[in-house]
Amino acid sequence: MRIFYLFKKELIEILRQREMLVLIFIAPILQTIVLGYVVTTDVKNIPVQVVNLSESRAAFRIVNRINHSSLFDVKKVSHSPEDAVSIFKKGTAKAIIVLRDSFEAGNKNIRYPEVQILMDGIDANTAGIAAGYFNGIVRYYIMTDIKQKGFELPLESQTVIRFNPDLESINYMGPGIVALLLTMISMFLTSIGIVREKEQQTMDTLLISRLTPIEIFTGKALPMALLGLIEMGIGIAVVILVFNIQIRGSLLYLFITAVIFLFAILSYALLISTLCNSQQQALFFSWFSMVTFLLLSGLFTPIENIPRAFRWLADINPLRYLIRIIRELFLKGNDITYFTKDLLIMTGIMVVLLSLSIVNFKRMVSR
């Protein structure tokens, strides 16, 4: 019963701050909408320059295809050599596509120009994707052309994409953003929970009370867990209503996953709160942790890209498992048997963080 008073006090303290209310209830809606539209891994409208030195029909057709593709934004088509370095330095194009007549056409019946793509490698990701797109356009043109001339390709692959057939990045970013919201609010609000008591000198009131350290810990964590779940609910509603992404899996599994994750992240945030001496320190620590969790979560870049030596950092990151499970629930509609392992690992991380946090809190209390 004593814990109820702490729970109530914590909620009153948060809900009485108007700025906090905006942060809790309005920001997630705006964030989900903005991030949903902005944070996309689709590469479109890549600014390119075409240098067509070929007089062949094939070159003309390829240029025409590039011009009509939504993937490229053709800034200029020139018919004389250009200084690539100067173009890249000016930043007017990220790729220069050069087409010129081949001196050694192997087959006189099929005459294609030589094609070269020069990329600005500063944005390595876009450069790689753009090169892939361009090669795709050229390959498709050649295949169509060969078929029109009556030849058959000896081998042809067919790609079938399931769960997200249009490869819309919002479909998998949207659920990820929900996970992000859940982490952000819970971590930031909780990390200042205990340190605020220290700063406003009310910690003594808590410690002199009949509350046990575990009751204080729980009384601090539960309201944040509740707010975190409300946040997640808002995020899910926005993802469903605004982006029309349907959740195919069970909401109950999503709730169970969120609760386990919340206790992991709240334990971590309370650990920060006990270690820091000011709210400023706690917020800085949270921000640093948040960025690290995010970069190692697989939200923006695949976990498999992380070098093996550092992969363990991602393995101990609870956000990684949450994002994976949320995506599986949203897009694949998987049931719990498909992500039991992830759930168990996340529970393990939660138990370790919770234990560390409680031990540290007890140590702080008896200083």
């Binding site: 006090k9 303290e13 701050q17 009310t202 003594d204 009131t205 009949r210 200083r367």
Partner: protein, 254 residues
């Protein structure tokens, strides 16, 4: 029942006994092997300038600070070993009143009562009681918006909500005007009449005369212990300030 362990060597009337109580923060000794006792029903003033070790002493008595060496017994229970037991007897009001600025006075009182295990019905009755002293429209304001004098009364009320036998007040009169101070001491006497034991720390020497007995603490050591009038007579000091200066000078000379 008082559990008098073999280490406890206070008088039967002593409700608090400290023996060679010491607190060190790194190389700095905040409280240096102090011995003192507080009798049941006594109003004890712990006097000293800022940084003398008053708050550190009181926090060790409540278990809020870990004791470096020595011991303190509250009602016969050694604090470090019986923290949960002694919490039942103690009411503590900290230096900055320790109220939640975003909660109103009623909510603060309810919170203090609730986390101290006071039944809901009693909390409700106590809230009605304070309404007789302070207007409801003030009590419903957020604590950060109410004057320091009222804040002090609310803090004292919150501290007393669990009806503790021992009341430890850390600088309760700092930052409040003389009129509020007088009212405060009148309340302390009321509590004494009810049999409560009260320890008040202060750096205002003129408040010393309100106490039944005073301890003067300087640089972590108790340099004087006795009834204010007796001490003044013995030391031939015409005011508390003179008495304090004499004691400090004598201590520093030694």
């Amino acid at each position: 029942m008082i559990d008098r362990s073999k280490d406890f060597f206070g008088d039967m009337n002593d409700i608090i006994v400290a023996r060679r109580l010491t607190k060190r923060f790194g190389h700095f000794t905040a409280v240096d092997a102090v011995d003192f006792h507080i009798k049941q029903g006594e109003v004890l003033g712990l006097l000293g300038p800022n940084g003398a070790g008053k708050t550190t002493t009181i926090k060790m008595m409540t278990g809020l600070l870990r004791i470096t060496s020595g011991s303190v017994w509250v009602k016969g229970y050694e604090v470090t070993k019986n923290l949960n037991k002694i919490k039942k007897f103690i009411g503590y009001m900290s230096q900055k009143f320790s109220l939640y600025p975003l909660l109103n006075a009623y909510e603060n009182i309810e919170f203090c009562g609730g986390v101290s295990g006071v039944p809901r019905k009693i909390i409700k009755e106590k809230k009605e009681l304070i309404t007789k002293e302070i207007p409801r429209e003030i009590l419903t304001q957020r604590v950060k918006d109410i004057p320091p004098g009222i804040r002090q009364r609310v803090a004292l009320f919150s501290c007393l909500i669990s009806d503790p036998e021992i009341i430890l007040l850390d600088e309760p009169t700092s930052g409040v005007d003389p009129e509020v101070r007088r009212e405060f001491w009148a309340k302390i006497y009321d509590l004494k009449k009810k049999g409560k034991t009260i320890l008040v720390t202060t750096h205002n020497l003129d408040e010393a005369e309100y106490a039944d007995r005073i301890l003067i603490i300087h640089k972590g050591r108790i340099i004087l212990d006795g009834e204010p009038s007796e001490l003044m007579r013995a030391e031939k000091a015409e005011s508390m300030e003179r008495l304090f200066r004499k004691a400090v000078t004598g201590h520093e000379a030694n």
